[in-house]
């Protein structure tokens, strides 16, 4: 059994082979692998006994899933309304300039992925960005540089 198949087997087992848990299984794999390779999707279909078309339908519908590998560090800029009116577009521009990435892209050296999100629910602190799970409120240009530099 390959590494991916073994992981799928473990995840599917932890969800009691329950077809209803397809989304949860894919979420577990997404966080375990960082993306959903074709092999993993095929394995999920086989082990969970769900048609492969439905696996792809679900995996392509939800934003949490990625069909391409993501960078080691995830940089997410919130574009919720509260962040928007307090300057999120500018924060996104600055971040994109600094990382030399457009939203949705991953750097060729696999160091960073730049994403946007519609609301993180920390509206009081806007504009907000999250780097590897850590929240930053309205970072200045030099703070932004530090955040990026410290993520190797």
């Amino acid at each position: 059994m390959t590494g991916v198949a073994a992981l799928v087997s473990k995840v599917v087992g932890s969800r009691h082979n329950d077809k209803d848990m397809l989304i949860q299984v894919l979420l577990d794999l997404q966080s375990g692998l960082g993306w959903l390779p074709q092999e993993a999707l095929a394995e999920v279909s086989r082990q969970l006994r769900v048609p492969v078309t439905r696996v792809y339908q679900v995996a392509s519908y939800y934003k949490a899933f990625s069909f391409a590998p993501k960078g080691r560090h995830n940089v997410t800029v919130c574009l919720g309304t509260a962040c928007q009116v307090r300057g999120a577009p500018r924060l996104l521009d600055r971040t994109a300039d600094l990382l030399k990435l457009a939203p949705g892209e991953t750097s060729p050296d696999m160091r960073f992925s730049l994403n946007t999100v519609n609301c993180l629910g920390c509206c009081a602190l806007g504009p907000v960005m999250v780097v590897d799970g850590k929240y930053h409120s309205n970072p200045s240009t030099s703070e932004l540089q530090n955040i990026v530099d410290s993520a190797q």
Binding site: K19, D20, M21, L22, I23, Q24, L26, L27, V50, R54, Q57, V58, Y61, Y62, K63, A64, F65, L79, G80, T81, A82, C83, Q84, V85, R86, R90, D93, R94, D97, V117, N118, C119, L120, G121, C122, C123, A124, L125, G126, V128, G133, Y135, H136, S137, T141
Partner: protein, 640 residues
Amino acid sequence: MPTMVSSLEELESLRKDILSRRDHTRPIITVCAGTGCQTYGAADVYQAIVGEVKAQRLETKLEIKATGCHGFCEKGVVVVIHPEEICYVKVTAADAPELVGAAARKILVERLLYVDPVTGQKIAREPDIPFYKNQTRIVFGNNKRIDPKNIEDYVALGGYGALGKALRRMSPEQVLAEVKKADLRGRGGGGFPAGKKWEETRNAPGDIKYVIVNCDEGDPGAYMDRSLMEGNPHAVLEGLLIGAYAVGAREGFVYVRQEYPLACENLNVAIRQAHEHGFLGENILGSGFGFTVKVHRGAGAFVSGESSALMSAIEGKVGEPRMKYVHTAVSGIKGRPSNLNNVETWATVPLIIDKGADWFCSIGTEGSKGTKIFSLVGKVNNTGLVEIPMGMTLREIIYGIGGGIIKGKRFKGVQTGGPSGGILPEQCLDTPVGFDELAKLGSMMGSGGMVVMDEDTCMVDVARYFVNFLCEESCGKCIPCREGLRVLRQILTDICEGRGKPEDIDVIREIAEVMADASLCALGTTAANPVLTTLRYFGEEYEAHIRDKRCPARFCKSLTSYYIDPEKCTACLICLRNCPASAVVGDKGIVHWIDQEKCTKCGVCFEVCPDRFGAVVRISGEPVPPPPMPGTRVVRKHEG
């Protein structure tokens, strides 16, 4: 070993036991560990305080607790010392030694107290701070007293008492009648009466029924469900249990947004502890009633917050809405009767059972009973979560609690109800907040986002922002929503970028009408609301964009230019150094000017130019004046 509670008497003795183990004379230092304060380093502050208490050998004299969100996120990290409720704001780890020492000696750390920006006075007690004073915190209030990972804190405050009352002293019919009498309306969006929904599920045929917590709080600008779930998960579970008992469900689901990891974590801990104490499982409190609950994480889709879409997501399918000729209350998950309410609605239920419908109805207005939590955010001084009795006016909320607009700027509009809501102008500020009142003005209550906008916000751009948001989130199943939004987005983008045509407004109205009539779910039928309300209240801004190619808020990039006033420029080099496009020309002592060809209109120069100079100005709808003669030197007025 956790105590299994299997009767009302045992619940009461557990509560007494917990209270007897606590030393009520001992001050408790509570650190807010909600997501907002975490951003400001709440974990470090907590660790520093723990370390300091040890270092000063005060373990027996002080108790420390990490609690849920207090709501005053603007001022994080918030630390409150009970029982006096001394409130310290913007606390950092470095403040720990002084703070702990002062707490032990019961004196104040003056420099960490909140300063009222109006009077300039320091306020020591949390309840005296205007932000809190004008609130009625019946649902949200316990957040600051509870460690969400410790069920004992919840039980100590009478938690699960309402469940006991419902299960052992009331029939399911009586519980239902009480909730109906309270006229509890759904806090998640539409404001549908919860009791009616429960009744429909209860009366629907079938032995297997479900109850569901909707924690897919997708409306940008709203985060009360997040804070409730993170800060007081047992209140949500208790409400869900009571609802399950009333409708006859033995199984429940909680659907949590993927973006809310801490809510998921705290909820899972709460479920485990509730099982250990016998509040979940078989024969709860000796009543014969059994109930279990599963947690489903969302995978990132705004429309999955719609009830039929959410239920389809729980089945592991694509979260697309369906037509609801048959309500989900009758045919939901797997075709079985399924009752769905949002987090705040469920968390309100225990209060109604505990204190009665009459008490609940004594708060609020004729059509909207009880309280509502709003997330007051945007360009307002005090941002955070506020719980107010229904019927308070928008003005009281924004100015009384929110402390007015940032930097004393002019209020322009307040956005309520998320992307399906609308933007209300100044003349609507004296409207009492309620489901029907907001709907009458073309907006809605929604889940309670309240985004305040000032004179610098362009209303056409805001409408474009929401349409763009919904365009990306539309599932694409029905044509009016999918295509209507795409065309609306194109028209609004054109207007923002100076390509608007006079006939655009009629086209917008026509599309909006079709979408409202023919879309499949509420996302489509309400999608045009932000456009229609801005047209209704801020029509002159659309006209300025279309006719004069001018953005009155000087926000839209295509219609705005940046210019340095040579009279005001002191040649300080700040903007020159910060300009990412190297578009600022000048030198030390030489008046700066902006090369319009190079300028990307990022606005950095405008932001960094010190207020006392105010030399960088934004211009819209008029030509940019020519630059000064090359090498023009700054004339320093104070130099003779």
